[in-house]
Amino acid sequence: MTAFATEALLAGPTPLERAREGDHEAFAGIIAEHQRMVFSLAYHFFHDRSRAEEIAQDVFLQLFRNLSRIESESHLVHWLRQVTSRRCIDQVRRTRLRAVTLDDAGDLAGTESHADPLLGRRLRELIAGLPPKQRVIVTLRYQEDLDPSEICRIVGLPVNTVKSHLHRALRALRKQLGETA
């Protein structure tokens, strides 16, 4: 037995393994660890706190029902990003919603170190006006710091399509910022 395997055995089951076996406390720990990522993906998509929290709750409930399919911690993160992104796009498709309200943006407990808060607010407003796929891709790129090869696996599009969406989104944002500047 290798030193790594021995160490893994001594460490005991991971929170994911414990949650899979029905340990609710372990599942609550998983939520606590990933809720900012899931909530923020939905929040940056909708710019609506209630809707983002609703999506986050639904994503975690779906996770609870699918715990047996999650193979590892990295698979869990990928799964959460994928399901959240798809839920956001699906909800827009169903309701044709383009929420741009920013009334509650100031209340959010973020750690924003933006030099220009007005520019940040304007950017979020402009992102909320992008087509749904571009919105998801921009959020995954700049919130989650993923490159197009990782984003394409989450959104299920060819990497060149992702690059093209990203390029178009940035061009649109530059243009709109230029117009409002």
Partner: protein, 94 residues
């Protein structure tokens, strides 16, 4: 202005309300059918056990009552026979 840096700053992760996890867990508990089934099975087992014991007690009581009735019937029969015997002896002497 570097747009990519501005986007990274604008799209930093935000925190949801602190009770998000609690609300999810409440929904998990509500939706977990196994707990409800386990509770129903436990209740059925307890009620079933209590009912079976009650039926057993009633049967035992009924059996004891029947035995007492049979004993009384035999005693009555014996007494009647003895009374008849005494009556017959009295008749013969007269």
């Amino acid at each position: 202005m570097n747009l990519e840096n501005e986007l990274k700053a604008a799209l930093q992760r935000k925190s949801p309300r602190p009770d998000l996890g609690r609300r999810v867990m409440a929904r998990v508990e509500r939706r977990n059918p196994y707990r409800a089934i386990a509770a129903a099975l436990l209740l059925t087992a307890v009620l079933g056990g209590w009912t079976a014991r009650e039926i057993q007690h009633r049967r035992e009581g009924e059996r004891a009552r029947q035995e007492v009735l049979i004993a009384l019937r035999i005693t009555t029969e014996k007494l009647r026979t003895a009374q008849q015997y005494v009556h017959d002896i009295g008749s013969e002497r007269q």
